[in-house]
Structures are given as C-alpha cells and as structure tokens.
Amino acid sequence: MIQVDFEKNFMSWRENARKFLADAIPPDQINWSQDELSLFTFDASSQDVKKPVSNNDFKVPPELISQFKTLSYARDEDRWNLMYKILFRLCYENTGLLSISIDPDINKAEKLQKSVRHDIHKMHAFVRFKKSFVDENEVYVAWHKPEHLIVRPGTEFFARRFGDKRWSIFTPDESAHWDLKKITYGAGMAQRDFQGVDDWDEIWKTYYKSIFNPARIKIKMMKSEMSPKYWSSMPETSLIRDLVRDAPKALQKMAENINTSAVVDLKLSLSELKSKSSSCQACPLYAKATQTVFGVGPENASIMIVGEQPGDQEDRTGNPFVGPAGEILSQALIQAGIKKESVYITNAVKHFKWVPHKNMRLHQKPSGPEMHACKPWLEAEIKKIKPQVIIALGTTAATAIIGKLPKIKDERGKIISSLACAPKVIISWHPSALLRAGNETESTEKMQQLVDDLKLALSAEE
C-alpha cells in the first residue's frame, strides 16, 4: 500500500496521480488519506502490470479535469481515492466509463460533484453582507457556513459581481478577502466570533414578510431549496416561525372580509331584484339612508342612464333623479329630444351617503368599496335591461361601467364600443357638476356638452 503524502488540493493530487497511472498502480494499492497509517508496502513486482486499453498517453477528456476539480472541493475523505479509481478504470478498463452513469464510482462522483456545485450555488445565494468600516474604508463582511470546502471556487463570483467595493467572506474553514484587485485567503472563523450588524437587515425582513402570501404554504418546498443548515446567517429566517404560525389567522381575517359586495341572484326578475335590493346591507350606507333607491324605467329601454347615487329627495321618495340634479337631467333630455319615460334611469350606488350639516343632509361622494359593494345590483340591472346604449354620468358611474377611473373632460363625447356590458357606452358630466360649476360660462358649457352627449346616445341607439 502506498501512503501518499500530498497537499490536499487538486494540483497536488494530479501530479501524484499521473505518476501512479503511468506505473499502472491499481487504486486499491494507494492510500490518499492521511488518517490511516499504512501497514503494508506495495510491491510492484508481485503484480501483473496492466496495459492501457488505448494508446492515448492517458489523455482524458478536458471536462473530466473540471469535474475532478469540482470533486476535489467535496468534504469527503474518500474523494482523492475515488478520483484516482475513475482515472485508472478509464485508462485501463473501459474508455467509455464516463458515459455509464449507473456505474457506482461514476454515480458517486456525479452525486458529490452535484452536491459541491449545489453548495457553491447556495453560497452565491445565501451569503448576506453587512456594511462595516475598517480604517474608514467601507467593507462588506459576511459569515457563511458552506457544506463543502468551497471558499476558493465559491468566492470568485463575488469578485465578478461586487468588484467595486472591498468585501470579506468568513467561513469556519477559511476566509476570502477582496482588496479591489485580487482575492486573498485567510484563516476561518467561528460564527460566535463574527460581529456584523446592519440596519438594512430590518428593511430586508420587512420585504420578506410582505412578499410572503399566507394563502400559500409550502414549507417542504422552502426547506428543500433553503436548507435550515444555512439559516443561522440569514436574517430573514428568524421570521419564518411566526409567519407560519400566523398564516391561518391572516387567512381567517381575509375570509371574514370577503363578502364585501352584494350577492345577487341573476335568475330573479327585475322587479324581484328591486324588492330584494330594499334589504341590502352589503355596505354600511344602508344604516343612515331611508331606503334603497333602485332604477326606474321600462324593462325594454334601449337607453340606460347611470348616475352616482341618490340625493336627499331621492332618498325620501325612493326614485332616482328627482331632486335638483334630476331637474337638470330632465331639461337636458328634453333638449336632446329624448323622452325621460323611455329611458331606464339608475345609480351606481343605491343608498344615499350623507353627513349632517346645519339642518341639512349634505351629500358625500361614495367610497370605492361602497361603489364596489353595490356594483352587482347595477350589473344585474344591465343584464335585465340589455340596453343598446349606456350613458354614465360622472366618475363614480363611469368607473363602475367602464372598469377604470376616467377623466370626464377627455373621455366624454365619444362612443365606446369595446365593452361587454353594452354595445355602446358614453361618458358625460353628472348634472350635479353643473350645479357645482364655478361660473355661468362653465355651467352653460357643461350643460351643452351633456345635451350633446345625450344626442350622441340617441343617434347611437338608432
């Protein structure tokens, strides 16, 4: 048995292996490990000297060299022997050996290499730098515990990526230091001796917490990709336990919040829908309103007008557009030549939203969630009426109809024919915008535009 005394690195192994190979010394006669004392000495004369299977001066494929290099970083005492065994068998037994992935030696070598490559990849992924200062120089320092002996092959990546600043990476075996020109290697360090704190760890943890979706839990997947053996140097992993524990609670909360829109049965007739809507409590507005104000008009109307929400008088009477804004709409309809009775008129939100002000009930714009909660009623009305044209008055109605917050000024006066709810949709001013207009000119202009848009609807319907 030959006891090899060599520096435990690839180059030194290679030098020795070359000599042994030339002398056809079989692998079981060589001890590459230093731990065991060899009891026998090898006597070459007593062996049948093997002949190489091909005369190629022991040339091996170049990819084998790089595979062996990778293998040499494995934390496995047997790797040197395994490498030699493969080399020997390749040259003396079977030149096709490397293709036989099921051969036990090739299989083991492949597995080890894979494990080393994996470990290097995980080092690239899981090293966490902390900003620090050494002699007033900004230096980024990290402590990481790799599975294999990969400081050298693993840290070149960081020079390629972070070559513009100094950094140091410590592992229990060895450390690597970048001085802006080259990497030098030094002694290893225990985790307890590593001192690094960084305020950004907290920001990173905030990100980790926020990007996690509690509706999807796949702990096995997480642990197989991010093995707990790496966790101790990764700041975000301290959150995992709580995130998992609280996930059901977070989901529960979501489930409680889920039904924030009206549940509407589309099989009901229009009048049945109307009476159902009178008890709707999908949003809090019902509490302060007198009644639900549902749409009115013929069921076969080809024009449908949608406003924002009932006002004070609508709330008292239960009919849409009967107050001051309704007055303006009536005038505009007359000017456009449309009979009010022929049109189906409704609102995006069906309860009056108000705050007390002196002795009045002051109108308030409905919120997004309120509009959203009420939308199924509007959608049901559209499905029953099947209008040719929908005229949406004001931003609340227009948002509910076109699914997007519009700029009335820019988007009015056009026929939108790309929507599924009706062949044609037109956006215009809400009559109350006229009431709120700053001056006479503005109010007249808006009135004219409202009339124009209604005329457009009339022509579109024909």
């Binding site: 096709g96 293709s99 992935s101 509706a215 702990i219 995130l243 979501m254």
Partner: protein
C-alpha cells in the same frame, strides 16, 4: 438623522408596495447576461439565483415591488383596484433605485422586478418605470437583473426604451379568454395585451437579426418576454388556458407563461372564490405547460372538449399515457427520442441519459431506477433489456388506480403545523 427618517418612510412604503406586488408569480432572474461595469456593481451570469425562499415555497430572487399601488383600473381580482380601500403608497423613482442598490449590495437579491398600478395613463406610468431602470443603468452603472412590467397600451417608443434598459419585459394577459376579462376587468382586453406582446416580440426578433450583421446593435430585453395568467378566478377550464398559452408561445416567442392560482384578497368581490388557491391545479398547469414546451405535446392532446380539465390526482403525462396505451410499452433501448419523451416519469434530462447510456450498455429496469426515474410510474410503460414483470398491467383496468398517489398527498391545502419547522 435625515437618512434615518427616510429609511423609516422607505420601510413603511416597502411594506405596502411589496405586499401589493406579491400576487405576481414571476420572480425569475434567468436568461440575462451582463458583465459588471468597471465603475459599478452587478452582473448576470445567465442562470438565475434564488436568494431566499418564503414559507409559501416561492423563490425570492428579485426585489419585486410596485412603484405605486394607486391605480385607475377597477379589476375585481386585484387588490389594488381603484375601488379598494387598501392602504396606498407611492415610491419615487429615486427611492426604488436606493432600495435596489442597498439590497443588491448586501446580496439579498439578483435585481429588480418593477411593476406599477396605472396612474394617469399607460405612457405616463411606463415613463416612471423606465426612469428607474435608466437611472440604475446610466447613473449607477448597475448591471444586475432588471425586469420591467410593460403596461398594456404603452407606446412603441416606450416599449423600446424599456427593453433597452431591462433584461426582461412582460405584459400580463391576466385571463385566458375575453369573457373572463369582461367579467372581472371590463377595461382590459386580450387584444390590447397581445398587441403589446406582438410589439415586444417584433422588436426582439428585429434585434436578433440586426445582431447578426452589427455587433453594436443595442440590446433589447435579452432575457425575452413572459406573461402571467390568473387561474381559478373564473370558471374557465384548463382547455381554454392551455390553448391560449399554446398560441402565445407560437405567436410571440414567449419564454414563459406564469400561472398564478387566484389567491383570495382582502375585500374581494362576492363572485370570486374565497377559498385557498388550488395549488394542485396550478402545478398541473405548469406540468402541462412543460409538456407543451419541452416534450412535443400539443394542448389538444392533454385537454379537449370532453375532458376540458387536467386531472388533479394524476399528472398530465401519465393521464395522457393512460388513454393512449396503444403507444406503449416503449423499448428504452430502441425508441426514438420523441417516444422516450412520452414515457410517464421520465424527464428530458433522463431521456438524454438513456440515449447516452444505451450506446454502451443494455438498459435494465434497475438502471432506470438508478437514474432516479420515477419508476413507480414508468415501470408499466417500458420494455427493458431484462424482464419487466410490470408491463402485463398495461392493459389492466386497475392501472389508473395504481398510478394515483395515496390520498394524503393531496392535502397540500392544510396549513402545516408549526412543528414541521
């Protein structure tokens, strides 16, 4: 002191704008190739790196955030819709750049995936996203990975500029068919999304062509384009989904279609499912997608009018094999690559291994096992050099029962006990 306060604001915004971005499934950082600029940091070496994993099993590779969650759209499936009362925030482009650089420097991330709610107009939003990417590249000489979302309807000019700075750009199709969009996102159309994809794809092809003649051709999204589809929010079947994917792959040379099982959001609409997302279905769709891209399958082979949905308890390849038993058994020592690819439990890599190995060695059943082929599935469908006693089962009626995994494997829905940690 000042920076301290800024960090606090930044952290608050980050919590809102990362939360708002988490429903986008994509986080890949692969396909980019950039060397570090001598005056900056960052590179991409082609293979993506996952820098962390969340307990949802998803890879965290990029800083995935929205520039803002203010949005003028009212899409029912989206937590950021205009009618939602979610807390809103808005980053300045400079804040996003700052976050990206600090995160990257500490090796938390591979780069940035920036998307946004739509404010004002598609182009106005797109310009802000571009400003971030351009700032990172031009001012900070940052060569890490950048993925920009392209807002549907953005102008050709802006799409081209986005592709100039980003490694990857993507436009979301959102739903497999128009009626789904009509139901949930009335202002969005498949046509607008695919038009944007076409614009991207045309430019990708043009750039590749030019690169052949002129090495100095400016880059355009070298890591290509992807898209995302939300599944399970509407009743659309896997048939519609896979047909759409297939046509997107064919027409726009997409790198990936991401399927995101609809995940309940706070204050959702009553027509949306409130239960946990079907991760099994999502997984089956990814498997089927893989079969389309790497195994030579066509969508109509996996789903059709009679069976419009993929089986949940058997993977799509095995399901296909079960109804096409006349194609089996396949002789692993003789069959062509295309046939090997059809064997249940045998992946693309193993097909290559089989082809390599059989030149030197007659493959047996044990060999297949050693190659880590899913032998429990493959064994019924293959002829090997030795006697394979399992193939007599091939015509048996109970075969599909045998191929079903035990029931408890489907309990992916259960929240795990913390003791699993």
């Amino acid at each position: 002191m000042n920076e301290n306060r800024d960090i606090k604001t930044l952290q608050k915004k980050l919590a809102i704008l990362a939360d708002a971005a988490k429903y986008d499934a994509s986080c890949s950082s692969s396909g980019g190739k950039r060397k570090r600029d001598v005056n900056g940091m960052g590179n991409s070496e082609g293979m993506g790196i996952c820098h962390s994993y969340a307990p949802d099993g998803r890879c965290i590779s990029l800083l995935k955030i929205l520039l803002t969650n203010f949005c003028i759209y009212d899409c029912k499936f989206c937590i950021n819709r205009v009618s939602s009362d979610v807390q809103r925030a808005r980053f300045t482009p400079e804040e996003v750049i700052w976050l990206t650089l600090e995160f990257y420097r500490r090796n938390y991330i591979e780069g940035l995936f920036l998307s946004s709610g739509i404010i004002d107009s598609s182009d106005a939003t797109m310009e802000l996203l571009i400003r971030v990417a351009r700032g990172l590249r031009e001012v900070h000489k940052f060569n890490g990975y950048i993925h920009l979302k392209v807002v549907a309807g953005a102008s050709q000019e802006l799409i081209e500029e986005a592709g100039k700075w980003a490694d990857r750009i993507s436009a979301n199709i959102e739903m497999p068919v128009q009626p789904d969009l009509d139901l949930l996102a009335p202002a969005k159309t498949i046509a607008a999304a695919t038009q944007t994809m076409e614009q991207i794809s045309d430019k990708v092809i043009e750039t590749k062509d030019n690169l052949k003649s002129f090495k100095s051709t400016p880059q355009f999204a070298p890591a290509g384009q992807t898209t995302q589809m939300i599944v399970g929010a509407t009743p659309s079947a896997d048939l519609e989904i896979l047909k759409t994917s297939e046509s997107l792959y064919e027409k726009f040379s997409l790198r990936r279609v991401y399927y995101s099982a609809y995940s309940p959001i706070p204050h959702a609409d009553a027509i949306l499912p409130a239960h946990k997302p079907s991760l099994v279905r999502e997984n089956r769709l990814y498997q089927a997608d893989w079969l389309l891209r790497f195994y030579g399958f066509k969508a109509h082979e996996l789903v059709n009018a009679a069976t419009p949905n993929l089986s949940l308890d058997i993977d799509p390849k095995t399901s296909w094999a079960l109804v096409h038993r006349e194609n089996f058994p396949i002789d692993v020592n003789k069959a062509a690559r295309a046939s090997l690819l059809r064997i249940p439990g045998v992946g693309v890599k193993n097909v290559e291994r089989i082809i390599q190995l059989r030149r030197f060695h007659k493959i047996t059943l044990v060999d297949l096992q050693k190659m880590h082929i899913a032998i429990s599935r493959a064994k019924y469908f293959v002829v090997t050099a030795d006697h394979n006693p399992n193939i007599w089962m091939l015509d048996s009626e109970s075969l599909s029962q045998r191929l079903k995994p035990p029931a408890q494997q489907l309990s992916l829905f259960d929240a795990p006990a913390a003791s699993e940690l």
